[in-house]
Each structure stands twice: as structure tokens, then as C-alpha cells.
Amino acid sequence: MTTTTPQVPSVKQLRSPKGRLTFLRPAAGFAAAAVALFAVAPLALSDFRLGLLAKYLCTAMVAVGICLAWGRGGLLTLGQGVFFGLGGYAMAMHLKIADAGPGQVPDFMQLYGTATELPWWWRPFANPVFALAATVLLPMAVAAILGSFVFRRRVKGAYFAILSQALAAAFAIWLVGQQATTGGTNGLTDIQGFFGYDLDDPVNQRMVYFVIATVLLLLIALARQLIHSRYGELLVAVRDSEERVRFLGYNPANVKLVAYVVAAGMAGLAGALFVPAVGIISPALIGIVPSIELVIGAAVGGRASLVGAVLGAIAVAWARTALSEEFPAAWTYFQGLLFIVALAFLPGGLASLVGIVRRRRASRAPEGEAA
């Protein structure tokens, strides 16, 4: 090994033969997504439909995180509703305080008649900067504490999934129990303003939509960078063979923790933006069932592929609205079926169809065409 002079293979040699094309593709993808989100959708959709799309895009933000944590890191995060909820409640608390006006307490607190002043843990959320930061940092902090405990103890696979799901249930139940300070089952509802803008005004609703679309694209770009970085490669290695990674001198717990915390931050941001888009956050939106729904979208679209997970999340959220309008009772069954079919027959989701088709074509090509 000392006698041979190392021949460093050039980067080009090690890339796929279509190196230049693959470099252009993501840029084209982002441009197409931007056109669709910023030009086509606002022109083609009514205010009502655009509002629904804003809601779906929030789901897609969670899916971006799920793609990272589950698709790339192998962490089946069945409890993303917790982080979505933390972000959502942090935002909604601030907006409720702002709606109530100085010196007043939010309407539901007056209604239940117990509180004449804000509970101590509400007070910091009166500060908009604190509230905004909390929408992201609070979920990340909770994920960091939980994750470091769970991953160091090598809890994985189904146990991790069950644990995160139990957390979602516990959080939702706790919220319901604290009616005087959290609004209980109703949640925080009837939110009027968003940092001084009246949310009843369709123009402002559109603005919220644009904010959401922008944030989604930014999160996709961030996740893309992470996935293609050295960290992203290491994350896949941890997913596929955690023990081997340990023997290479890494602590896999830290590698997983990063993905989990980032995914939690994304879910928190999604929850925060969901509030102005829909005007409500409640335990029913963050418990076990919605947490599973968030994962189903990513599973159907393709959990390991960003595009697949995002489109899958949007499609499943849309299908839920469309189908539950027509057949309210059947949706849950349909959803469960979708999840099973996707995981059993197409574990890579719809996104993997592209690869399958391409490989088929590639294997046929040598026979079919000579040039």
C-alpha cells in the first residue's frame, strides 16, 4: 500500500454518467414548485380552496421532517403531533393574548370564570419574539431531552414508535384536562389576528398562504442539504447498520438525535403556521390519529424521498378532505388500508415507482436499442 501512488479518481468519474443533468434537476424542481405554489395555485383556486391548500402544506412541512427522521434515519416517528402541537399552541397562545388586548385574558379563560389574570406560564408568550422562537425551539428542546434519553438507552424500532405514540396520547390527554388554561377539548379557537393583520380579510389569508408556501420550500431546501451532506450519508448508514457505525467510532445516538430534533423543529413550525391558516389548534389535531395521518402521507408518497413524502402528505390530506366529505365513516378504514398497502407492497412509496420504471427501462435498453 505504500508503493503504489494513489490514483485519485476524479469527481466526474465517480458521479453518475448523467452528472450534469442530475445537477440541474433539483433547481428545475424548485422552480416548478415555486411556479405552482406562487402563481398557479393562487390564480386557479378559490379563497376557500387556497386556505385548504395552506393547511395541507403545513402537513407537508411535517412530512419533510418525517422523511428525514424516518425515511433516512429509520426512526418511525408516530408522535409528530406532539411537536406540531407544541408549535401550534405556542403560536396560538400568543395570538390569543394579542386578540384579548392589553390587561385582558383570552376569551375562554373569562368564560370559565376562573382566571382574572394570565397563568404564569402563559405570560412569556405575550412577547411575540419569545412566542415565535418557542414555536421552533420548544419542540426541539423536548425532542432533544426525550431523544437523548431514548437513543442512549438504545430504544429502537417498534418500541420507539410506540413510545412516541404514547407521548402524543399523553400530551393530548393533558391538554384536555387543563381546560381552564388550555381550552381543553375545544383547544384555542377563534383566532382573529396574526401580528396585527386581521385573519378574516381574504387578502391577509392569502398572505398567510404565501408565508406557508415559502417556509415549506425553505424547509425542503434545508432537508435536501442535510440529506446530501456527509451527515445525511451517515444517517442512512446508522439506519441500515447502527452497530457497524459504532465500530467506526461514531456514537449513533447523536446521529439519530440530530434528525429527530430537526424533524421536531419542522413539525413545530408547521403547527405554528397551521394556526393562522386554520384559526384553531386543539387536542384532536395533535393526538394519536393525526400523528399517524402525518406518517401515512409520507409512507404513501415515499418516506425516503423528499418529493415523494411532500406530495404524499399533500395528496393524503387532500383525499381526507375530499373523501370524508362524501363518506365520513369510511375514511378511517380507507386510510388504514392505504397505510398497509403502501408498506406491504410499495415500501418505498409512490416515489420508488420512478426508480423501478427507470431500472426496467435500463435493463431493456441494451436489447432494444443499439445506439
Binding site: P9, S10, L14, F247
Partner: protein
């Protein structure tokens, strides 16, 4: 995620020896390793042989922190027993497994790049890999996988996976390689190439090989330790060990009288496809 004190790859591949004293590993009353004393000198190419259940793999597991053990394991002047797996790896000990464990969904290049990177800082980790690090290029050359750098590791033939694993240990820059049956399931030519590769590696690093293949052992071992029932039965050069009546009794004599062409069939050979 990374320890800042080890950001730079080690440049001094100073040779270090392994010194094991009174090593005991017990699982639920069964003692797999029963008071092993073992010295592997710096730059040795030591073969660990012994019948199935002799405790060879368990010994390696104990040294690399995978199973709990009593006694002492000193490497490069430090007592490493009781440290966590990744810390032992960082102190310069690397290993392979009986069945090649590479990251199948990543390319050969990515596998090696990850192996090279345990000391990387956060910023480097968050950036893309640009080009091929020099140590990776050298390892690709050494293990003969340069042409396959872009292939998925999962598509490699069995022998090449083992080479990739050895390459990963090289870029990891370990000073002690513990290889668990590296030539199992390889063709004759591949065994020969692997043996020569190990010989070259052991000029700069210490190599310990667990092996069942007696021909391979005879061709390449610089020294041999025979394990039997959790204890070191015999130690020395190939000739010395082969001449030891105790060894002939439990193991070597039996294998040595059997045909010398293909070696002993192993259960692992059936696992690969």
C-alpha cells in the same frame, strides 16, 4: 456530535501492541472466555485459531467493547476494557464481522468516506462531500476497488465486501485490525490476494485474524494462538504450534490430516449468495 480533540486524522500510525490479562467473559453461567492472557506484538500478523466455541469471536467482542468482560485489555498503553464501543474504536481498534457488514444502500465511496470521518467537525458533516479524500482514494487502490467506487456496496460480490470492510478499517486509520474470518467463502485467488493484502497492512498496523482455514493460516500467519474452551492452549509460530501435541489432539492434527487443498468448510460459507 464529534469530539473536537480528534478532528485531525492521526498521521502517526505508530505501531501498538495488544496486551490481554486474565480476560473472562461469562454469559448466564457459561464461561466463553476463561482467563485468557494474550500478547500481540506491534506489527504482528497473528492468527487466532481453535475449534467452534473456543471463544475466538467472544474474545474479539470483549476487546471491542461489544460484551462485558473482566480482566484487563491494554492497547497502546491504555486500559480500554469497559469503554463504550465507539470510544474503543476511536482509540484505534477496528474489527470486521463473520458476515460482511457494509452499508448496502450506500456506494463503496460513501462507505469509505463514512469510515474516514469519525473525527469530523460539525461543519464538515453538514456539507456535501466534494471529491475523494486522499485516504479514501489510497484505500480504494489498496483493496482494489477503485473502479467500483460508485457502485452500491450491496451489489458487490462477497469477497469484495470483505475487502471493502478492510478498506474501511484502513481509512478509519486503526492501529489494530481484528478480522473475523475474512476469507470465508472466498475463492482460492481471492484468499491469496487477501493474504497478501494483510501482509502489507501488517507492516504498518497490528493485525489479528480469526480463521478456520488452515492453509490460509499456514501461508500467511506470522504467529498463531490456539484457543480451546475459553483458554489459550498454545502459542508460537506455525511450526511450533503444529508440533504441539496438545494442539494436535484438540484441533490441528485433525484438520491437518484432512485434505490440505480447500480448507475446512464453515457454516458462514453457506450464508452468502
Amino acid at each position: 456530535m464529534t469530539d473536537p480533540t480528534t478532528t485531525e486524522p492521526r498521521t502517526d500510525t505508530g505501531l501498538s501492541g495488544l496486551e490481554i490479562r486474565g480476560l473472562r467473559v461469562a454469559f448466564d453461567g457459561f464461561t466463553a472466555v476463561d482467563g485468557v492472557d494474550l500478547d500481540v506484538g506491534p506489527g504482528d500478523l497473528r492468527f487466532l485459531i481453535g475449534p467452534n466455541g473456543a471463544g475466538k469471536t467472544t474474545l474479539v467482542d470483549a476487546v471491542t467493547g461489544l460484551v462485558k468482560a473482566e480482566g484487563s485489555v491494554r492497547f497502546g498503553g491504555e486500559d480500554i476494557l469497559g469503554r463504550s464501543v465507539h470510544r474503543i474504536a476511536r482509540s484505534g481498534i477496528g474489527r470486521t464481522f463473520q458476515t460482511a457488514t457494509v452499508f448496502e444502500e450506500l456506494t463503496v465511496l460513501q462507505n469509505l468516506d463514512i469510515a474516514a470521518g469519525a473525527g469530523r467537525g460539525t461543519l464538515t458533516m453538514l456539507r456535501r462531500r466534494k471529491g475523494v479524500p486522499e485516504s479514501v482514494a489510497r484505500a480504494l487502490e489498496t483493496v482494489g476497488l477503485t473502479d467500483l467506487a460508485g457502485s452500491l456496496a450491496g451489489t458487490l460480490a462477497h469477497g469484495r465486501k470483505q475487502w471493502l470492510e478492510i478498506g474501511m478499517l484502513l481509512v478509519q486509520d486503526v492501529r489494530l485490525l481484528l478480522l473475523d474470518e475474512p476469507v470465508a467463502g472466498m475463492s482460492h485467488d481471492e484468499r491469496q490476494a487477501t493474504g497478501e493484502l494483510l501482509r502489507r497492512i501488517s507492516r504498518e498496523r497490528t493485525v489479528v485474524v480469526i480463521e478456520h482455514d488452515m492453509d490460509f493460516m499456514r501461508s500467511f500467519a506470522r504467529s498463531v494462538s490456539v484457543l480451546h474452551a475459553g483458554k489459550v492452549l498454545s502459542e508460537g509460530t506455525v511450526t511450533e504450534v503444529q508440533a504441539d501435541p496438545k494442539v494436535q489432539e484438540v484441533y490441528l492434527g485433525h484438520a491437518a490430516t484432512e485434505g490440505t487443498t480447500t480448507g475446512v468448510p464453515r457454516p458462514t460459507a453457506a450464508q452468502e449468495a
